[in-house]
């Protein structure tokens, strides 16, 4: 019996797909899994797992949180970057924040459950916390001293033009005191929960403020990575934390700095990427060399 052409064509397609599925979908990946078990390669193929004190504590490539059960930083450890993966550094739910560069207005709802922070407020809050933890100035441009985004909603008589009629500091909920008392002669009000000042016609106006152009807290300390699993921090963020770790452990600063250097990966071939400090490996080395006080 001769099949109709269209059917014969689809049967050929099905046979081709099955052949390729076996070859490319089973033989090829499984052969590579087998190769990955060769000595020398198996450690990496299995996820670069690392031990400390006889148990596996993680992977050299995957960052982790160094926080206590309540989520507070454990000061004797170098801290990782902020993470948007699950509750932080969760490899089963990797994610970036996906918040945009102009995400500057918080949602302050009457129900705190429905409130959410803009990226700017997250950055300001982190900067303040990291500053406090390490005893440096945590101020940044476009941030208030209480660690939220310094953003005003400016209402004008004719929408976008005309004299200013009303100004609200949108990220500071009453009873907070606005970061500036007045804007172009108009007194600044704190925000009321549940109000949407942008929808009401307020023009979003971030205020630069007088924070230093180069904040003491480095950029990677206040931003979430793309993966949420970044195993590294910048050498600058590591340096910022050295004094705290030295104090907590009663260690010699020079010895701690030496460990930081040993766990810093430079640029690949001198020009690829940027240097980074592997936080987990550094902390394991610290534990080995200096007992916590």
């Amino acid at each position: 019996m001769r099949l109709p052409t269209w059917l014969a064509q689809h049967l050929a397609a099905l046979r081709a797909l099955l052949v390729f599925t076996v070859l490319l979908g089973l033989v090829y990946p499984l052969a590579l899994v087998a190769v990955g078990q060769l000595p020398g390669l198996n450690h990496k193929a299995d996820g670069s797992l690392i031990d400390a004190g006889g148990t596996t504590v993680g992977s050299a490539l995957i960052g982790q949180s160094f926080t206590d059960a309540d989520g507070n930083p454990v000061p004797r450890y170098f801290q990782s970057r902020p993470s948007a993966a699950g509750d932080g550094y969760d490899p089963t739910s990797t994610s970036a924040s996906n918040l945009g560069p102009e995400s500057v207005v918080d949602t302050i709802a009457t129900d705190p459950e429905e409130s959410s922070e803009s990226l700017l407020t997250q950055v300001c809050g982190r900067s303040r916390e990291v500053g406090e933890l390490n005893g440096v100035d945590g101020r940044r441009p476009y941030c208030t001293d209480d660690g939220v985004g310094a953003v005003l909603a400016v209402f004008r008589a004719d929408g976008l033009t005309g004299p200013v009629t009303r100004v609200v500091s949108v990220n500071q909920a009453a009873p907070a005191t606005p970061f500036v008392t007045e804007y172009q002669g108009v007194a600044v009000e704190p925000a009321q929960p549940g109000e949407d000042y942008v929808a009401a016609g307020g023009v979003v106006t971030p205020i630069r403020g007088d924070a230093p152009a180069e904040p003491a807290v480095p950029a990677d300390a206040v931003t979430a990575s793309g993966s949420g699993l970044d195993p590294q921090i910048s050498p600058a963020y590591a340096e910022l934390q050295v004094n705290r770790v030295v104090r907590e452990r009663g260690a010699d600063p020079a010895a701690v700095r030496k460990l930081v250097r040993e766990h810093t990966d430079g640029r690949g071939l001198g020009f690829m990427g940027e240097p980074g400090v592997n936080v987990l490996e550094l902390n394991i080395a610290l534990d080995k060399q200096f007992a916590a006080r």
């Binding site: 046979r15 996820g47 918040l99 940044r140 476009y142 940027e274």
Partner: protein, 551 residues
């Protein structure tokens, strides 16, 4: 050395490597697609599939073979995901929901690799390696096959035959994709990319927390994700994940693999039409557009405009320490200039104008250098349009490579060009008209950018995401699935129809009046036509989104 200097050297070394492999690798691909001696494995495959490798096909049969193979692939991949809970290595995951399975099946078969799911919490290892990764290979091979068929249309005359799809598919997969994939996977494994079948290792972290270190056959899928300009990550965060892209040099290698085939295809073209200089001209157009875009994206990202980047001091949100701003920007440009769509940083958090560049790159129509095969055929269509426009301006008969560009040819070329703008703009409008834009995380201009990006990415078969938008709803899965489907196969049909029409023509000998298509003048004109067509089509939409936000 500053980050800018290092970033410049990074780009220059990539360019040098691509220039170095252009000839040898292009020649290798030429031999793979034009040879007639079949290896023993290939003969075995032809017997199993039941095709006669010596029999050639007309454009209609070739197109129907492409469509039959893709239709069967979509159905197979759909069913595979729907029954994954009954299969080996399912990791205990439920079957993928119907609209998600449809979207993912279309996405991988069309070489888009848009992902409305999160890899580590949705797909078992078997679906990933025997379903998704197989399509990473064959969808890339389909693109190259269609490009080769188009070039045969230019190279041949007075014939209806364009080659045999099954032979092209097999030889491209076995001789081009698979060997490089094996080598690349081994290199990635040396860098730390995982390759195992583990369901995950539970560990207690240094401070007593718990963490699950995920596993999977990642390296084998990662390499073809880049080489085949697919872009679908094994994990949700794609090439930002340390298990997919662990080091600064694997990042370089991944960008190189992304560009390798698309930038070498013009050599295949030049060899096949018997004039290498025609290949150089096409490669030059691709190179000029790509270089300009990489530089501009880097400048926007390194300058770091935008309120949050200013507050932070750098556009570092959504970027890894090891890649930092410059290498992330270069990757972002590479992945959107080709139809890859893999990401090593999150475009949603880029500066407004840096984010816009990733969109503009896709809107160029994925031709600089575009996807595997699809980049070449897309650019040849633009070359045809350029020849036609130039002919109108100076009153010459439009000819390209000895073929007359008549009304039939220009109709196919125009139809090809019109499809993606229609899909992008109608799709974006439909999302707003039906209120489905409300799943975007951001409002205002950035919310428009998120919707526009999604449709641009799907219709151009790119697959990268701006993120910040929930797309795993029935409406989004369906709408974007249709955009991917039409955005892939309608152009392929028009390309093959054009190829058939060109192959039938008798060659026209070059005369005084023929526009030389290998000179800088022509290169400049193709670049101009590409940019002007994009500007006219998309500028209004860009003005309301990223431009409104960034200026």
């Amino acid at each position: 050395m500053t980050m800018t200097t290092a970033g410049v050297i990074f780009v220059l070394t990539l360019m040098a490597a691509l220039v170095a492999v252009y000839k040898p690798f292009g020649d290798y691909m030429f031999r793979a697609v034009s040879g007639t001696r079949q290896s023993r494995v290939e003969r075995g495959i032809f017997r199993l599939v039941g095709v006669n490798p010596a029999a050639e096909q007309t454009w209609g049969v070739y197109a129907r073979s492409v469509l039959a193979f893709s239709a069967v692939s979509i159905l197979f991949l759909y069913l595979f995901q729907r029954v994954q809970n009954h299969l080996w290595l399912s990791l205990g995951f439920d079957p993928v929901v119907p609209h998600g399975a449809w979207n993912t099946a279309v996405s991988f078969v069309t070489n888009t690799n848009w992902q409305s799911y999160s890899g580590e919490s949705t797909m078992g290892h078997l679906v990933q390696m025997a379903g998704l990764a197989v399509q990473n290979f064959v969808s890339a091979a389909v693109g190259i096959a269609v490009a080769v068929a188009l070039v045969r249309g230019f190279a041949r005359s007075r014939t209806g035959q364009l080659g045999n799809f099954w032979v092209d598919l097999t030889r491209i997969t076995l001789r081009i994709l698979l060997p490089i994939a094996v080598l690349g996977a081994l290199a990635l494994m040396l860098g730390g990319v995982v390759q195992n079948l583990s369901a995950g290792t539970d560990v207690t972290t240094l401070t007593g927390g718990s963490q699950t270190i995920t596993g999977g056959p990642v390296a084998s899928q990662e390499v073809i994700k880049e080489l085949g300009t697919n872009g679908g990550g094994f994990y949700n965060v794609n090439s930002a994940h340390p298990f997919e892209n662990p080091t600064t040099w694997t990042n370089w290698l991944q960008i190189f693999l992304i560009f390798l085939i698309p930038f070498s295809m013009p050599r295949v073209f030049g060899r096949m039409v018997g004039q290498n200089r025609q290949g150089y001209a096409i490669a030059a157009v691709m190179g000029i557009l790509a270089f300009a875009s990489v530089v501009i994206t880097n400048i926007f990202e390194l300058t770091g405009h935008g309120t949050v980047p200013q507050a932070v001091g750098a556009a570092l949100e959504g970027k890894e320490v090891r890649f930092d701003v410059s290498n992330s920007a270069t990757f972002a440009a590479a992945t959107t200039l080709t139809s890859t769509g893999a990401v090593n940083s999150f475009h949603d958090s880029f500066t407004p104008l840096g984010g816009m560049m990733t969109m503009v790159n896709m809107m160029l129509g994925e031709v600089a250098p575009g996807g595997t095969g699809s980049g070449l055929y897309g650019l040849l269509i633009l070359a045809v349009i350029t020849v036609f426009v130039a002919g109108l301006m100076v009153g010459r008969t439009p000819e390209y490579l000895g073929k007359k560009i008549g009304s039939r040819e220009i109709k196919f070329a125009s139809l090809y060009f019109l499809i993606t703008p229609i899909l992008v703009l109608v799709g974006t409008a439909a999302a707003f008209a039906t209120g489905n834009n409300s799943t975007a995380l951001n409002v205002g201009p950035h919310g428009l950018s998120e919707v526009l990006y999604a449709f641009t990415s799907a219709s151009n078969n790119n697959g990268s995401a701006f993120g910040g938008i929930t797309v795993n709803t029935t409406w989004w899965d369906t709408a974007l699935g249709l955009c991917m489907l039409f955005g892939r196969f309608l152009p392929i049909i028009f390309v093959l129809a054009l190829a058939g029409s060109l192959a039938r023509q008798a060659p026209t000998p070059a005369s005084e009046g023929t526009l030389p298509t290998h000179r800088p003048l022509f290169i400049g004109m193709v670049v101009g036509v590409t940019v002007v067509l994009v500007a006219l089509t998309f500028l209004p939409a860009l003005a309301l989104g990223p431009l409104a936000e960034g200026l």
